[in-house]
């Protein structure tokens, strides 16, 4: 009986830990609120999951932008990055002031280059996170 009780306690502890782990790690290509290294993911997780759904062997630059207040003004950002053959996909999140850029995995992402392209369009890139898929 004692053994059964101990087994039940151990099993329930293991079950309780698993959901917590899933909140902090990437799992089968779906990222949640925090990255594996503990850093906060600065983008809507649902939007991010939708963005990466058809992407493989890619790295995603999540760029935080100031002054991106209108759709019409942000069009230039999409046009500029789409001309880059290393860019697979781009998404603009006006509500959070973020741009998601999917690059080929082999491409070296340079923040200063991204900053310059955003500035030409009239906004300011403040910081960037890179996530490898």
């Amino acid at each position: 009986m004692k053994k059964i009780l101990l087994l039940l306690v151990f099993t329930s502890m293991t079950w309780a830990e698993n959901p917590h782990e899933h909140m902090h790690h990437s799992h089968e290509g779906h990222l949640h609120e925090e990255l594996v290294d503990g850093k906060k993911l600065e983008v809507d997780p649902e939007r991010f999951d939708k963005f990466i759904v058809d992407l493989k062997d890619s790295q995603i630059a999540i760029v935080n932008i100031k002054g991106m207040v209108c759709d019409f003004c942000a069009r230039g950002i999409e046009k500029t990055f789409k001309k880059d053959t290393n860019v697979k996909k781009i998404d603009v999140d006006l509500s959070k002031g973020k741009v998601l850029i999917a690059y080929n995995i082999a491409h070296k992402i340079v923040f200063d280059d991204i900053k310059e392209r955003i500035l030409i369009n009239g906004q300011n890139a403040i910081d960037m996170q890179i996530i490898n898929l």
Partner: protein, 170 residues
């Protein structure tokens, strides 16, 4: 960009080699002086302030007429906008052989909903403008719509009639 009001109908093509300035050509059908001419235009960004939720701009604008170097205009225009609110103004002096004149406008707006990227975006605005030729203020509602690379702005006043502004981003 195409523009039409009680003073003029115009089509303006412009190119921005840098975010700081743009150059362009504006073809004008002048409704007040019954004349056709063009302006070679230059616009320069004097100041821009980007924050997390807003952008503020101040521009200098100028143009030289195809009628000669003694016919030209200059002015400033500016705006401040968030995703929800918009405030804008413009002041312009035009020098012509027949008669010089000045124009000014002030505009405020609110977005009734906040659309996502790619959605149809709508602004409901009020605009008030005055020129020294008619020397009276016209105040009227303006509806601004944009989706993708197309922007349309419609204003209507019973005396000055339609203000229409169409823009396409290439």
């Amino acid at each position: 960009m195409a523009f039409s009001d009680n003073i003029k109908n115009s089509i303006y093509y412009h190119y921005s080699p840098s975010y700081k300035y743009s150059v362009g050509l504006e073809n004008i059908k002048d409704n007040y002086f019954k004349d056709d001419y063009s302006y070679v235009r230059f616009t320069y960004l004097l100041d821009r302030k980007n924050t997390e939720h807003s952008q503020r701009n101040l521009y200098f604008q100028s143009g030289i007429s195809s009628k000669g170097f003694d016919e030209f205009f200059y002015g400033i225009h500016g705006d401040w906008e968030t995703r929800r609110f918009f405030v804008g103004f413009g002041l312009k002096e035009t020098k012509k052989k027949i008669q010089d004149y000045s124009e000014q406008y002030y505009q405020i707006g609110v977005a009734p909903y906040l659309g996502d990227y790619g959605d149809l975006h709508t602004w409901i605005m009020m605009k008030t403008k005055k020129n020294s030729l008619e020397n009276k203020w016209s105040t009227y509602p303006v509806l601004k719509l944009f989706k993708g690379d197309v922007l349309m702005e419609f204003g209507y006043h019973k005396k000055t009639e339609w203000d229409v502004h169409l823009m396409y981003r290439f």
